[in-house]
Amino acid sequence: MIHLFFLMFSLIAVIASWRVVAAKHIIHAVLWLVVTFFSTACLFVMLGAEFLAAIQILVYAGAIIILYVFAIMLVNVKDLDIKAHFHKHRRLAKLLGLVIFAELGLVFLQRFTFLQAKGPLAVQQAEWGGNSEVIGRLLYTDYILPFELASIILLVAIIGAVVLAITQEKRA
């Protein structure tokens, strides 16, 4: 059963991501990207990271994708028709992609003997009550500095976006 699910979700993810690259129109690309994110979230659930799966759908599909759609709708739709929007070097790019995939695949298909030792995750989850509890605890104790840094990054992004997108006439 679990093999079937893995096969299904990974196939959907790969096909949808290929459709993102090959899409005729940019909105189609965005919609296929949502499908990719969804099936990746399903893979996350299979890996026991259900909190991340929900976050993935909430942030990516719910916020970032909607932001993209918004930007696309603000830009003139006719400019976005992707009929002749491929680079002339696309054969080369595909070859490069294939080579990199072959390399990564060669590395990834080896046996990871050093992965035999299991870490403390299962113990932590049993002790603290679940995946989201463990993530929450660690974010607010061991990783408090990166957490605060992330919030500062978000603040900077908000202010930066406002400053970049504001029109000049309104300021005067």
């Binding site: 893995f6 993810a13 991501s17 993102v20 690259v21 940019i26 690309a29 965005v30 990207l33 990719t36 994110f37 990746t40 996350f44 890996l47 026991g48 990271a49 909190f51 991340l52 942030v59 990516y60 916020a63 970032i64 932001l67 993209y68 930007a71 830009v75 003139n76 400019d79 976005l80 992707i82 929007h85 491929f86 680079h87 696309r90 790019a93 595909k94 490069l96 992609g97 995939f101 990564l104 695949g105 990834f108 298909l109 080896q110 990871f112 992965l115 030792a117 299991k118 870490g119 403390p120 995750l121 995946n131 463990v134 660690l138 974010l139 990054i153 978000l154 992004a157 976006a161 970049l164």
Partner: protein
Amino acid sequence: MISLNWYLVVSALLFCIGLIGVLVKRNVIMVFLCLELMLNAANLSLVAFSDYLGNIQGQIFTIFNITVAAAEAVVGLAIIISLYRNRAMTNVDDFNLLKW
């Protein structure tokens, strides 16, 4: 039980498709979308490692990854919008004002 390698292969496949997209596409927004795809692939491999190593750090790293992706999307789209306002185009090749 599916071995870690298969998750990593799927992640590599997604990453390479995203990479091809970034190299091939000329539209800025499309390039951004393919970048999101690559980040997503990286997240998948991080979570897979986290599960198989029994260590939560991979998942925490993924959370920061998603945060940074959101910030990147916001700033990038703002730049695209203001570029579009000033030059009325969204092709990467046309943004060549700084080219010497």
